[in-house]
């Protein structure tokens, strides 16, 4: 048996953090996978210990460009947990609106990329066009398309102008018909069924063993969502459902994310319609000595922050645990036994955090064949075409 080693990384072209995967393959089949992380150490925790509690929010926001609400949300909750204090009601609602807007655009981003990997470039274009509407909504609400700079310990930084709310609701409503069509195109597509169903299965036991979080766990039937389990913000004041599916393959992960976008739209609309009047900021001055933890259900799963204060205006210790940290090891359970063409989408299906630089080389010990990131995408797209041909669609 001739085993070959397929390194993916340290900069992965499809995924969102510089990670290093070592696929040990026999021909097309993946027999083993080694995962290495830690190539993107930026010293964020140390950096935030140098900033004041207020300034650190902006550093935390830049841990990830896509989760630029999740990390500050968890961080501000951790700082508020040091007191502990309750933020004003209006701030809670606005925080929820921003967090859910982020969830929609993050899921749309992932959906578009997944479409691109599978050779559905039309889907990619449509989804990213739809994402623009959400980014416009975020710009109206917060003043920026990403990195919203809305969160601060004790409240939020800027209020939502009541005059903007009708426009925002109109824009949110306008994406629903397109989203419906996308849902039908994705969930009812026979090629995608054949391509994605039954690959990369993460069983419920594995999901629990690996402590998977977020849509990755929910697609495997684990009913785990911080928003339901430990309600914060306005999540216990609005009506929404947790989306759980049970098969755990890549297709189910797509389904969970698509359906979650509808729940997010529901939450945003309810929050904006019932926005309570009042203060938006507690104007916290001195953080007492102590420690606090904060969690938030990010688009990718539970984000966890720990903050220790020694009574000065800077955090003495700050610990961040991003959801991908928990989800990444699940690829040991999902990728093994699949083909290299499928590994692309399975590794991407956990939606790891994005900061990819196109630098990937795949080589075999014989040493002649070199693949780069585009080749891998092509490999994956060719497989979809093959399935289409077999089904007589092309």
């Amino acid at each position: 048996m001739a085993l070959s080693r397929v390194p993916i990384g340290p900069y992965h072209p499809l995924q969102e953090e510089p990670e290093y995967f070592n696929l040990i393959t026999d021909g097309e089949k993946v027999l083993d996978i080694e995962v290495n992380v830690g190539y993107n150490h930026r010293g964020i925790e140390k950096l935030s210990e140098r900033k004041s509690f207020d300034q650190a929010t902006f550093v935390i926001e830049r841990i990830c460009g896509i989760c630029s609400t999740s990390h500050p949300f968890a961080y501000t909750r951790a700082v508020e947990d040091v007191f502990p204090v309750e933020v004003p009601e209006r701030a809670k609602y606005i925080r929820t609106v921003i967090a859910e807007g982020e969830r929609i655009h993050s899921h749309l981003l992932w959906l578009g990329l997944a479409g691109h990997f599978l050779g559905y470039n039309t889907l990619y274009m449509w989804v990213w066009k739809l994402r623009e509407e959400i980014l416009d909504v975020m710009e109206i609400l917060s003043g920026n398309r990403n990195n919203y700079a809305m969160f601060k310990p004790g409240g939020i930084r800027r209020d939502i102008n009541p005059d903007d709310i009708p426009l925002v609701l109109k824009k949110i409503d306008s994406i629903v018909p397109t989203l419906d069509r996308l849902r039908k195109a994705i969930i009812d597509d026979p090629v995608l069924h054949k391509r994605l169903k039954g690959i990369g299965i993460l069983t419920k036991e594995d999901a629990l063993d690996y402590c998977a979080v977020g849509p990755t766990a929910r697609a495997s039937g684990v009913e785990k969502d911080v928003r339901k389990d430990d309600p914060y913000g306005a999540y216990d004041r609005v009506d929404w459902d947790m989306i759980v599916t049970y098969k755990g393959d890549v297709f189910e992960k797509v389904v969970v994310r698509v359906l979650e976008m509808y729940e997010s739209i529901k939450i945003i609309k309810q929050c904006l319609k019932n926005l309570p009047p009042g203060e938006i900021d507690l104007k916290l001055k001195d953080i007492p000595p102590g420690e606090g933890i904060g969690t938030h259900e990010a688009p990718r799963g539970e984000t966890f922050h720990y903050v220790r204060s020694d009574g000065t205006n800077r955090p003495a210790r700050h610990k961040v645990r991003a959801p991908t940290y928990m989800n990444l090891p699940t690829c040991e359970a999902t990728v093994i036994g699949e083909s290299i063409a499928d590994a692309t989408i399975i590794l991407a299906s956990i939606d790891p955090c994005y900061c990819c630089t196109e630098r990937l080389t795949v080589f075999s010990p014989e040493g002649n064949k070199l693949y780069n990131g585009n080749d891998l995408i092509k490999l994956s797209q060719q497989k979809t075409d093959k399935i289409k041909k077999e089904m007589g669609l092309k």
Binding site: Q55, A56, F58, K129, N144, A149, R157
Partner: protein
Amino acid sequence: MKLPKIRELLEAIKSLLTKPYTSKFPYVPHEPYPSFRGQPKFNPDKCVGCLACEQVCPAEAISHRDIVDDGIPRRIMIHYTDTCIFCGSCEANCIADNEGIKLTKEWELSFFDRSQAYETIEKELQLCEICGVVIACKDHLKWIAEKIGELSFSSPTLYQSYLKGLNIIDENILKAYKDKGRSDRIKILCARCRRETTLTTK
């Protein structure tokens, strides 16, 4: 297979009749939403040069340079466009009714040379009349005097700055103190010189 084809045809006709989704950007200028956070700009009339914005800026995008030995003593407030993250902390913490530095809707901020990516304003500085070190900007001292009202008459530095600003400083008032050996106190002084003139005898 027929139904999707008809739908595609309808879609094609519809997109022929509708405007393109993309904008004609370089030819038609882009107008951001009213709440857009663009480049912060100093307002030279309102800014008092207190450096609160420099203190709170998380990205260290605001700094200053004091020029005392060349012409009128002045403080140059510098805002680095390339470092700024447009968070609005400077505006939120501005002591001059949040108007000394304000976020604008300006977003076309590209430069050919990164070393040119900054904006400055100049504020006149007040120096200590004895030792010549920087006390604060003249506008800042005036702002404090206005803020605390009649209490400012407990501090010669404050009320003299205020009165000088109004052009009503009278040398005769100071003359009365000179004979009693207290003329040093009735000056615009830095904290160190005030302590020396008040608490120690030379």
